[in-house]
Symmetry: C2
Subunit: 369 residues, 2 copies
């Protein structure tokens, strides 16, 4: 496998920030929700160290929003997730897996309650809009479902609070985790949320008018200079260390929500109707067959994981590793892996097959212990 170029056409949508991404020397992209998502500007390890020490600006416009608005909005949002949404207040974010009638994960968005009868699903990489529209039409619900012109820009890293306080006012320091406020930055109204796809702290700025993308980027950048701001992107090493799973890789539509470690967020007995209830009640009764867990391989860094690696236990295939990075913090390779439930206990030894070579892996808990 050699290095290959990405070809972009209108089918792969641009972002409001893409010009600045190029100006900052982006080296690679992936495609996410039919839109460009930068991957590297220098290299993953260099960017990891910078992210953990300073502050970065991430074009994550590809985290598209699906807006659900109307009298039946809450009813519809409740239908598509086994998490209880009823208590969610305006200004609050909820991490909520979406599950179909088989209990399988369709996406794992953050739900933002934007107004009384208006929700945004800030989605991972699958066309949730179509699914939700289909359900709404099929059920005859009184809602409007569409993708608004909303493009998140993430400010991540330990200096994010100082930067954003200087840019948008000291009160942003008081925004609690997974809460958001309305603000005007660079002359345009945004939602400012304490959230983001790293464990280093920071914000996601929900731009609501693409025309202000470059102005918003520039406003953050200008203040960020003194904090050594750099253009960055969701970082493979950091997300492994922090435990952030990626939909499409670590979690897919072939996995049910109870296999993926979502239990802490869910209320399978919530009063509202939801599509996955029957399937999940049965799975809860029968027990799951597999579990998404953390696996560590000590020694030197493994090559990049393009396709899942097989995991074996006593010469039997017991699962697959779907993400891997060498962690400077732990001095070891960290992986997310879906494995048979009987070998998912921390401390269990597994064999990880990489390019035909066996490596000794150990199942770890969620804190890599």
């Amino acid at each position: 496998m050699h290095s290959t170029e990405i070809i972009l056409s209108p089918r792969v949508r641009t972002t409001p920030y893409e010009q600045r991404v190029y100006e900052n020397g982006v080296k690679s992209f992936t495609v996410y929700n039919h839109m460009t998502l930068p991957v590297n500007f220098t290299n993953t390890e260099d960017e990891y160290h910078h992210l953990c020490e300073h502050v970065q600006l991430w074009d994550v416009a590809a985290e598209r929003q699906v807006e659900i608005v109307g009298p039946d909005a809450l009813k519809l949002v409740e239908l598509i997730t086994p998490r209880e949404v009823a208590g969610c207040q305006i200004g609050q974010c909820l991490y909520a897996p979406l599950a179909d009638e088989d209990g399988l994960v369709v996406n794992d968005p953050i739900i933002l309650r934007v107004a009384e009868d208006r929700y945004w699903l800030s989605i991972a990489d699958s066309d949730v809009k179509c699914w939700v529209k289909g359900i709404a039409w099929g059920r005859g619900l009184n809602v409007n479902v569409f993708e608004p012109d909303v493009s998140p820009l993430a400010v991540q890293g330990p200096r994010a609070d100082d930067l954003m306080a200087e840019l948008a006012g000291e009160e942003v320091r008081d925004i609690k985790f997974f809460r958001f406020i309305e603000k005007e930055i660079a002359g345009t109204p945004v939602l400012l949320a304490r959230s983001g796809w790293s464990g280093q702290g920071g914000f996601e700025i929900y731009l609501q008018d693409s025309n202000y993308g470059l102005a918003l980027w520039d406003a953050v950048w200008e203040v960020g200079k003194k904090y050594q701001i750099r253009a960055g992107a969701p970082n493979l090493i950091e997300r492994l260390e922090t435990g952030l799973k990626s939909y499409g890789s670590d979690i897919t539509h072939a996995d049910n929500v109870l296999e993926c470690g979502f239990e802490r967020y869910l209320n399978l007995d919530k009063p509202s109707e939801y599509m996955a209830r029957g399937a999940l009640e049965k799975i809860r009764r029968d027990g799951v067959q597999r579990k998404l867990c953390n696996v560590m391989v000590e020694g030197k860094p493994l090559p990049p994981l393009r396709l899942c690696w097989d995991l074996r236990h006593a010469d039997t295939k017991v699962g697959r590793a779907s993400s891997c990075a060498f962690s400077p913090k732990y001095g070891a390779n960290l992986m997310f892996a879906m494995v048979a439930v009987d070998v998912a206990t921390p401390g269990t030894e597994l064999t990880v097959m990489v390019g035909g070579e066996p490596y000794r892996g150990i199942v770890k808990d969620e804190c890599w212990k």
Copy 2:
């Protein structure tokens, strides 16, 4: 904009043919239905000439299938398209736009009737599976909707018939356009359809077991050597000349089916229920505001189109061009463009804005006349 690398992880799925694609020196990919789709092996013009003279093998596994099977399969397929599906026979393909309750295009698949109560939608780049599953669940239909392990491999070009006749028997020459037969090739059962995303003739081989991907590729390749076979991909120049629109670029979920030139395929008065009926009846009554049409710009080749180019008429913006290639056959730049209906008549002059520079364009008919 400089050349950027594509980063692949399990989230961007591999194809059963990808190893051969690399071995044949693929230079660039795009992402299509969360899967790799090769774009270039040498360059678009060189590949165009080869395609029009010889035969090429295309990894188009990214044309995923959505299988709809069960007692309500036909009812569901009828629901999602304004094309009449009832008359479709087993062994027949239908090109059919899918339209939502607003008459907007969700995708433009080829529908294959695979068995009495079993259809495949061979889709363009949007998650049709989720949409159809949502509708099926909402309506309580008795069907199963899923993505089967089916990966099309296209054999395209004027020598495709000779190649496939030698490989699979003389009777393949008798397969009519948009018909398919069952065959065994390379030890695995496939559907062999006379179809494909070029105007050069050829077949699409629907592999039904990923494990046989390399064997199938190799079987075609071996026979193809005497026909100067090369690895190729859907070709931008050829598709512009032939008039093949790309969903996501030329047609999007913001466009209704009557704006996109689908009328010839549709029966808005078909007896079966379909979601878009009310919306399309109204649009038919009121008339469309825009039309997808062909625009030609003579002179030297224009730069690659990354983002849509604005079209103007008498200093007013009247539309956007979404695809462009310089055609050796016509000695001019060919474009697909969605324009206001009053300037969509062949012969109308438009101004195409490319990087701030105006170019003189002329609306052409579908045969570039």
